[in-house]
Chain length 281, copies 2
């Protein structure tokens, strides 16, 4: 997905919010805003938003000296999600369509996102996503592709959401490779966050090699690119991965909760909608 | 009022919104964002926000070539307000405290503001402001000062709101000097907008000389400064005038609807609150 004009004020806003997680030093925060301001003219609208996100969060790290501002929040999100794990599992067990319920739960977890979100209530979110209609619902195609694959490439998004992903992975009952970011960016899941969620017990965890808050192929490592290029069934979680991959040509199923009006417009749905969208399928 | 860090993403957002009112040329809009981005490092947090607003809206004018982007919106706001004028007058006539009702109506009109607001419903606003409690209510001081003055300096804010101001001016029944901006900025009222609202029939209209979306004394002309310095009773409408004057030492009554959390924090109230705040009284 290209960068829209509306992404630009949002970049500035996100820089301030991320900076504030790292420091309360007003001079440093002003310094972040000044530097991000000067970066704006170098952002081509043809780039995907996570490419810019990568530069912005790198600036936040450099100016504040805090490598992983969201570390504590990520840990807390995962702990909270792990506490919900038994009840999420029983929701799947009690449902008529276990796979679909697990997909819904994985999407509910996508609300744990400190990029576009200022606040969220995960318990409310679960109840909402378990019952609401999908704005795009390519479930038949999902089942077709799933039936014909022996392994799944699963692109993770946020820490805490990882636990919700685990529920879906356990329901897939096929070998899964779970992909995390190489470097902490916003609250996106890294290897450490995936381990805390126990993903390593149900999937092979690999890093995409990127420090972008999304899957930007040109920033990814060879291991990930090889896995990506040979996969016939890719599950992509969240907005950042959608932004990075929406113009690519592999068969991908995007599972996401739409959290900003720019993505809503690009996908062709409304803010708050849930989406199971198959691309190139 | 100083510039807070949260004002900075808002400046970028406002630049984009104002640009879009003037043009749909994406290159020009990106150009505005690029230039505003580069300005950020030159914004001292000690400055008041309207000082920066002045530079930003000037940039929008220069890049788009549109001198008064909000001209049509301002005209429509005033027309809509004029259509409400008879019913507003009868609300004052039927009330037990006509002065207070006229003050409430003047505050309701303050919602017609395309700076911080993305949308508003003026009719809903009137009903709300006529009945809700004030978060700050220095009405006794207002009446004391009003009783001891022979003339009033009234600092206008937005076009359309001017009609609501007229209702209050008519209720004051003392000579009023009504102050407008010298140059169109956002939808702030200029002389032309005041005339369209008929303010010239009930007050002497003068320009402050500023092109800022607020009263920044150092950018004002000699005529206004003379009137300001000798006045013992100043009514100041809206956020922009508050931002410019909140650290000055004249007796001023601020009438406003609080529309952003930065102002709310500075005033010590909540977003959505209505305020009648006397300063240096």
């Amino acid at each position: 997905m290209r960068t829209y004009l509306d992404c630009i004020p949002c970049f500035v806003d996100q820089a301030l919010r991320a900076g504030r997680i790292a420091t309360d030093d007003e001079k440093k925060l002003k310094g972040i805003l000044d530097e991000v301001g000067m970066m704006l003219r170098d952002i081509p609208l043809e780039n995907t938003p996570p490419e810019t996100g990568m530069l912005i969060y790198d600036k936040v790290r450099k100016i504040t000296g805090v490598f992983d501002p969201y570390k504590k929040l990520k840990r807390e999100s995962t702990e909270k999600a792990l506490a919900l794990y038994p009840s999420l599992k029983s929701k799947v067990e009690q449902s008529n369509d276990k796979l679909l319920t697990a997909i819904r739960i994985a999407i509910a977890g996508n609300v744990i996102d400190f990029g576009p979100n200022k606040s969220f209530d995960i318990e409310e979110e679960i109840d909402d996503v378990l019952t609401k209609d999908f704005a795009i619902f390519d479930y038949d195609e999902f089942k077709d592709y799933f039936g014909n694959t022996n392994e799944i490439l699963y692109l993770g998004d946020n820490a805490g959401e990882t636990v919700f992903d685990r529920i879906l992975i356990e329901e897939l009952k096929k070998p899964v490779t779970y992909v995390v970011r190489a470097v902490p960016v916003i609250n996106d899941a890294t290897c450490e966050d995936a381990l805390q969620a126990g993903i390593n017990e149900v999937a092979t965890v690999i890093s995409s090699g990127t420090s972008a808050p999304g899957t930007i192929l040109k920033t990814c490592n060879a291991e990930f690119k090889a896995a990506y290029n040979k996969s016939n069934f890719i599950i992509s979680k969240g907005q950042g991965n959608y932004e990075g991959l929406s113009n690519e040509n592999r068969p991908i199923f995007f599972l996401l909760k739409v959290k900003c009006h720019v993505i809503a417009q690009d996908v062709g749905v409304n803010v708050g909608d849930i989406v199971l969208k198959g691309m190139n399928v």
